[in-house]
């Protein structure tokens, strides 16, 4: 490993270390930083939306720009903020939770993160290169084929690149959790965050291919002259809607399941109790994952599939509420009678229950197909999905950030600032989105850039915008908290919360790059809590200290991703000004270099892949002596602390 212990490495060396790293703990930090950046970007876009809608007849944003901003807000938040941030926690925690030294495919882990970073940059470059996509995050084909300019092309290519990264990471986590568990870590002893990560990763494996296909069809229509969605030529735009939602509904569960996992860990840690109904929780997680694939048409009730089809999908949708309800009751039973500690993560977790339930209830309302004709495409829908996504996923991300911060950075965020942030965020969230239910029921459609005075929407919209500003203030407090903590740099020791129950809290902080000097032996659920109660509070070793085989760092994943990034520009401008192109780009100036850029980009990718395939890289061994020296040093440090 490039970083020498105890010595400060130069900036260049650190940068190179991160560009080439295959260590899951460092990849987690890349996900956290890049995901955090896109979260801020999406947040700024949200503020622009709420500023435009604060008062009627506003012209702060023009109609066209407004469409670009809402599209980029949704796309950025789902694909570039929420999912990567969840991947950050999965990378930081899951290998430690199951007693693994890394993920199953460290090289692919690095490839996944760089594909996501380059895809995200590609998508956002659209702002500077002739306009962002403007057909909504769902990018319905009837709109997106007609959208003039290259905006939609940035959406298609950017998502294709980032999506490949997500798919790769999904496969990686499935394999890791199935094959890399330490001795004794049976399936029914895995912590809930590992379980939800496993199911979410499986959902990714099954749900991303339909998106990839849909986006490929869109790319071919827009860039290479095919007619899948072009109705005049015999295409069918409904196919896009099906493909998108076959992906889209499982996607919302990809987001919420890991969030459930994070909250499960927090509830049991800060109630100082085992999770109530562990096996029911696991069962519910798997069931939600399975049902998630059979409900997609609830987003298309008003398309005209017919009453039988609508009824089937309505019923299937309502069925999902059952396992979700099981989970809610189990969390409540976990807190019940526990010795509760009101830390920042716990406050978020407590706030999550009522907030998420409200989102679930509106979900069931929408699942009733005839009623959905009223709600569809109104602000009621906006209220619903923000209640589940912000009240569920974003709460979990913020809670998880405070909770796992010591594992990721070795320091502790200020609890005082954290609680202030939590309260402001909570108030801001309900202030923004509660009133939107009524706006929807009063008839305000979603995705409109302004509304007229005198329709009774003014006060409600103003309240909503004020709430949004409160959430922004909370995020700024979080940023201040992070900066202060990093500057102070007060290191904490093992198990900083004092109540850690699962394996990741048994490790020294900072965690050594090989994670476990000894392969741990797991004797039951909540491995660390068990040892605290029955043993001496340390995890027993499954065997003697032995030399550890480690993978080498590699720059190739970065190059593979960069190649696709370059090729993306070639594909994007290929149809510009060509006579066979769709109307949206046929009138643009021709770009004769596009084909060469496409070929050059693909060449970079395939040559990098070739280098990887033909050059053997067998990794290296950490000698036994080094591990033993580390263990002795650790022991001395702990004795000193006592």
């Amino acid at each position: 490993m490039a970083q020498v212990k105890g010595k400060k490495a130069g900036f260049g060396a650190v940068l190179w270390d991160y560009l080439t790293t295959v260590d899951h703990k460092k990849i987690a930090i890349i996900y956290l930083v890049a995901g955090g950046f896109f979260f801020a970007l999406g947040g700024i876009e949200a503020m622009l939306i709420r500023a435009q809608l604060a008062v009627p007849n506003n012209d702060f944003l023009s109609a066209g720009l407004f469409n670009e901003v809402i599209t980029m807000h949704g796309t950025t938040m789902i694909f570039l903020a929420a999912m990567p941030l969840l991947f950050a926690f999965m990378n930081a925690v899951v290998p430690l939770q199951i007693g693994a030294r890394d993920v199953a495919f460290p090289f692919l882990n690095s490839l996944g993160v760089w594909l996501f970073v380059f895809g995200g940059i590609f998508l956002n470059l659209s702002w500077f290169l002739g306009g962002a996509p403007d057909a909504g995050w769902t990018s319905y084909a009837s709109l997106s084929i007609a959208s003039p300019g290259h905006g939609i092309d940035f959406y298609a290519v950017g998502l294709q690149i980032a999506g490949a990264g997500t798919l790769i990471s999904g496969i990686n986590f499935v394999t890791t959790i199935i094959t890399m568990r330490a001795p004794g870590m049976t399936y029914m002893r895995m912590p809930l965050f590992t379980w939800t990560t496993l199911v979410a990763a499986i959902l990714i494996v099954f749900a991303f291919p339909p998106l990839t296909i849909g986006v490929f069809l869109l790319m071919f229509d827009r860039m290479f002259g095919s007619n899948f969605f072009i109705v005049e030529a015999g295409g069918n735009t409904i196919i896009w809607e099906h493909l998108f939602w076959i992906f889209g509904h499982p996607e919302v569960y990809v987001l919420i399941l890991p969030a459930f996992g994070i909250f499960s860990e927090i509830f049991s840690t800060f109630s100082r109790k085992r999770l109530f109904g562990y096996s029911a929780m696991v069962f519910a997680t798997v069931l939600i994952g399975f049902f998630g694939f059979m409900v997609w048409a609830h987003h298309m009730f008003t398309v005209g599939l017919g009453p039988t089809a609508n009824a089937i999908f309505a019923l299937a949708t309502m069925a999902i509420a059952v396992p979700t309800g099981i989970k809610i009751f189990n969390w409540i039973a976990t807190i019940w009678g526990g010795s509760i500690e009101f830390t920042t993560p716990m406050l978020y977790a407590l706030a999550f229950i009522p907030s998420f339930v409200m989102g679930g209830v509106t979900g069931i309302m929408q699942a009733a197909a005839p009623a959905d004709y009223q709600y569809h495409d109104s602000y009621f829908i906006v209220a619903h999905f923000h209640y589940v996504i912000v009240g569920g996923v974003v709460f979990a991300l913020l809670a998880g950030l405070h909770f796992y911060w010591p594992i990721i950075t070795g320091t502790m965020l200020s609890e005082k600032l954290g609680k202030i942030e939590m309260v402001i965020f909570f108030i801001g969230f309900h202030c923004t989105f509660l009133i939107q239910h009524w706006l929807g029921l009063w008839g305000m459609p979603r995705r409109v850039f302004t509304y007229l005075d005198g329709q009774g929407y003014n006060t409600a919209n103003m309240i909503s915008s004020i709430g949004a500003a409160l959430m922004a203030i909370a995020v700024i407090i979080l940023l201040i908290n992070i900066i202060k903590t990093l500057v102070k740099n007060e290191k904490v020791g093992t198990d900083p919360w004092g109540d850690g129950r699962t394996l990741e809290w048994s490790l020294p902080i900072p965690t050594p790059y090989y994670n476990f000097a000894n392969t741990p032996l797991i004797r039951g659920i909540d491995a660390l809590a068990l040892e605290k109660e029955e043993g001496d509070g340390t995890i027993p070793a499954a065997g003697p200290v032995e030399a550890i085989h480690m993978p080498n760092n590699s720059f190739i994943p970065f190059m593979i991703s960069f190649g696709l990034f370059v090729a993306g520009f070639g594909a994007l401008y290929f149809a510009s000004g060509k006579p066979w192109a769709i109307d949206a780009v046929a009138n643009l100036p021709e770009k004769p270099w596009a084909l060469y850029v496409l070929i050059a980009g693909l060449a970079i990718t395939f040559i990098s892949m070739g280098v990887r395939s033909w050059k053997d890289d067998l990794g290296y061994y950490i000698p036994k002596e080094e591990l033993e020296a580390d263990l002795r040093e650790l022991e001395a440090r702990e004795r000193g602390a006592k």
Partner: protein
Amino acid sequence: MAEQNHEQLTESQLKYLRMERTKEMRIQMISFGLMIFLTFIAFALVALEIDKNFVIPIVIGLAFLQVVLQFYYFMHMKDKGHEFAKLFILVGMYFAIAFVVCFIMIVWIGNPI
């Protein structure tokens, strides 16, 4: 962790391994021959210009058999340690078939049901 196994095999272990591999090879060859034969039947049925309604279901049936052979014999699904792969393939097939049926019903045929 890819720990390499450096232990020497004993004589009888080696013999057993050889035997297993020969058996495996034989099975591979037989299933390969079988699959070529199945393909040949399918081609022959089409070439003989027999009634369409008769040929199509048979060809689809043969194709299904081929898929099973492929998965179980060529891609080693019959071997131990493939429970998860099997589960994933089956679930994936279930979803894919459901999606295709749905598409045929509500997109291609297109009459609201």
